[in-house]
């Protein structure tokens, strides 16, 4: 438990900006990799426009992933004296953390208005995710064990053994993610498929199949945070970050023998305590899904069901818009876009503003983001 302090208090997300992922995905035969700074600048402009702020209002910038040189990014968009400036490494666990750092800066006065900017050119730069052994221990790589996906496949295989789960649960998650993505004009993949078609798709790292995997696509996201007081004078309805929490889940590899359970419990219990709400109060939940499996683990870890009960929860309570009292992953990585948690966090904001059109969860007042990874993080946002 925390020793002191009420945090976050009075921090709001006031601007969100991104790009048309589906359109970028369809453009082929580029002369070279897409420029990550160009995409980031577009997202930054869109977020500024969305917020109603002027560029000079931004006094903090946090750059994530492929805009590795934060000084270049600031130069390119003409921010020359930010009070808060730094960069975070490439992994998806950083997206929730980046928002936390922005909120901490605003709460402490280290910056008033922070732009968190993320860019990913993994597809046109042909990144071989996992090919360099990422996610495995050095001893495992020697023996052919590589990629976080394989580590998650090992966890899922064990999970099936311990709880009697089946691949059909993953199929339902993949199908639901695709349906939600089909309701978003900017998604990469919109063509619907069935549980049967999922089962016919090829294995990547058995027992995980193609549709369990995140996409690899280019894009960028910017989120602008400031105080709630300031937010009240800005363009859009105020979305407050009413709780945020994180907890490392440290081991010698990506694989966790408890399927991230204890860390997810720690983070979600703190979120509920700080916000004064419970899991069932959420109107929608956006779960980091580098693989569909992570959604199963997260549903249990955040307390929506018992351990091993995620498959039942999917069947009985539901996860899909129109069927579930709290749809899961109207934004996602397996069909919408792989912006490593940033697209999920943007979705929280848009759902609470009521901006999601045919994808809108009616009367969304509370939205949760949760990420199970070696740094587990989460937030609860509220429309105020």
């Amino acid at each position: 438990m925390r020793m002191s302090g009420k945090f976050p208090s009075g921090v709001a997300v006031v601007g969100v900006g991104d790009v048309d992922y589906g359109k970028l995905y369809q453009i082929r035969n580029l002369p070279g990799p897409r420029d990550p700074y160009e995409m980031a600048a577009e997202a930054f402009k869109n977020a500024l426009e969305d917020s109603g702020l002027k560029k000079d209002d931004i006094d903090g910038v946090l750059c994530v992933r492929d805009i590795k040189k934060y000084e270049y990014f600031c130069y390119k968009v003409g921010i020359d004296k930010p009070r808060l400036i730094n960069g975070l490494e490439s992994s998806g666990r950083q997206s929730g953390i980046a928002l936390q750092y922005a909120a901490m800066a605003i709460a402490t006065g280290m910056a008033n208005t922070v732009a968190v900017v993320y860019s990913n050119y993994g597809r046109t730069a042909s990144f071989n995710y996992g090919g360099d052994g990422d996610g495995g221990d050095p001893f495992g790589i020697l023996h052919g064990m590589t990629s976080p996906g394989a580590q998650v496949a090992a966890m899922f295989h064990r999970y099936c053994h311990e709880y009697g789960a089946s691949e059909e649960s993953l199929a339902k998650l993949a199908v639901s993610n695709r349906y939600h993505a089909s309701l978003n004009a900017h998604s990469v993949m919109k063509k619907l498929f069935t549980v049967e078609e999922y089962m016919q798709a090829r294995y990547i790292t058995e027992p995980l199949r193609l549709y369990d995997y995140c996409l690899i696509n280019d894009g960028a996201v910017c989120m602008i945070l400031t105080s709630v007081e300031r937010a009240k004078d800005l363009r859009k309805p105020v979305v407050e970050m009413i709780a945020t929490s994180a907890c490392g889940d440290m081991a010698s590899s990506y694989m966790k023998e408890d399927f991230f359970y204890k860390g997810l419990q720690t983070v979600s219990n703190e979120l509920y305590a700080v916000a004064g709400v419970k899991a069932e109060d959420m109107d929608n939940i956006q779960i980091y899904d580098n693989f569909t499996t992570t959604i199963l683990f997260s549903l249990e870890g955040i307390g929506l069901c018992e351990r091993g009960g995620a498959g039942d929860y999917i069947d009985k309570v539901g996860i899909t818009l129109g069927r579930s009292p709290r749809p899961i992953n109207t934004a996602n990585h397996t069909s919408e876009t792989y912006m490593q948690g940033f697209n999920h966090q943007v979705e929280c904001v848009r759902q609470l503003r009521g901006e999601c059109g045919v994808r809108q969860v009616p009367n969304s007042k509370l939205s949760m983001y949760i990420c199970a990874a070696p740094i587990i993080s989460g937030h609860i946002f509220a429309a105020i």
């Binding site: 001893f139 052919g144 064990m145 990629s147 394989a150 966890m155 058995e206």
Partner: protein, 140 residues
């Protein structure tokens, strides 16, 4: 693929530090997988650390593991990630040593398919085409 045909496995070797050299030398030359035991609190750990991760004692010794283990999980790769392992599908096993730590090693597709979770396994040491010694889990 027969593991003794597998080439350039040494290309996947991590940079070996002075501290970890005894571990790799022992695996390579004596065909024994070593784990660490704390002289002060008996804690056993793998992969290695320069200190005991439980009590932070610097007095950690390398001890041979028995090879007795149980299957914790298994994965079959259908996508090629590494040139050394382009012979998909191939399988890996994650096994819990009787000493405690989890170790990832080779397993044949046949044994991976047949082995039940928590089934008892033993370690067999195999040599690849470039002479690198690897750990293979086989049914007890």
């Amino acid at each position: 693929m027969q593991e003794n045909l597998r080439e350039n496995i040494a290309g996947l070797m991590p940079e070996v530090t002075e501290f970890e050299k005894p571990f790799w030398d022992c695996l390579q030359n004596k065909k024994v997988l070593m784990v660490q035991k704390c002289d002060d609190c008996d804690h056993i750990q793998f992969p290695s650390s320069p200190v005991c991760s439980k009590c932070l004692s610097g007095a950690v010794s390398w001890i041979p593991c028995s090879g007795k283990s149980k299957l914790w999980s298994k994965v079959t790769f259908h996508k090629k990630y590494l040139e050394q392992y382009s012979d998909v599908p191939y399988s890996v096993a994650l096994a819990k040593l009787e000493e405690g730590p989890m170790v990832t090693g080779r397993i044949t597709n046949e044994n991976a398919t047949a082995a039940q979770f928590d089934a008892p396994l033993l370690i067999r040491y195999i040599e690849t085409a470039d002479g690198t010694v690897l750990v293979e889990f086989v049914p007890e």
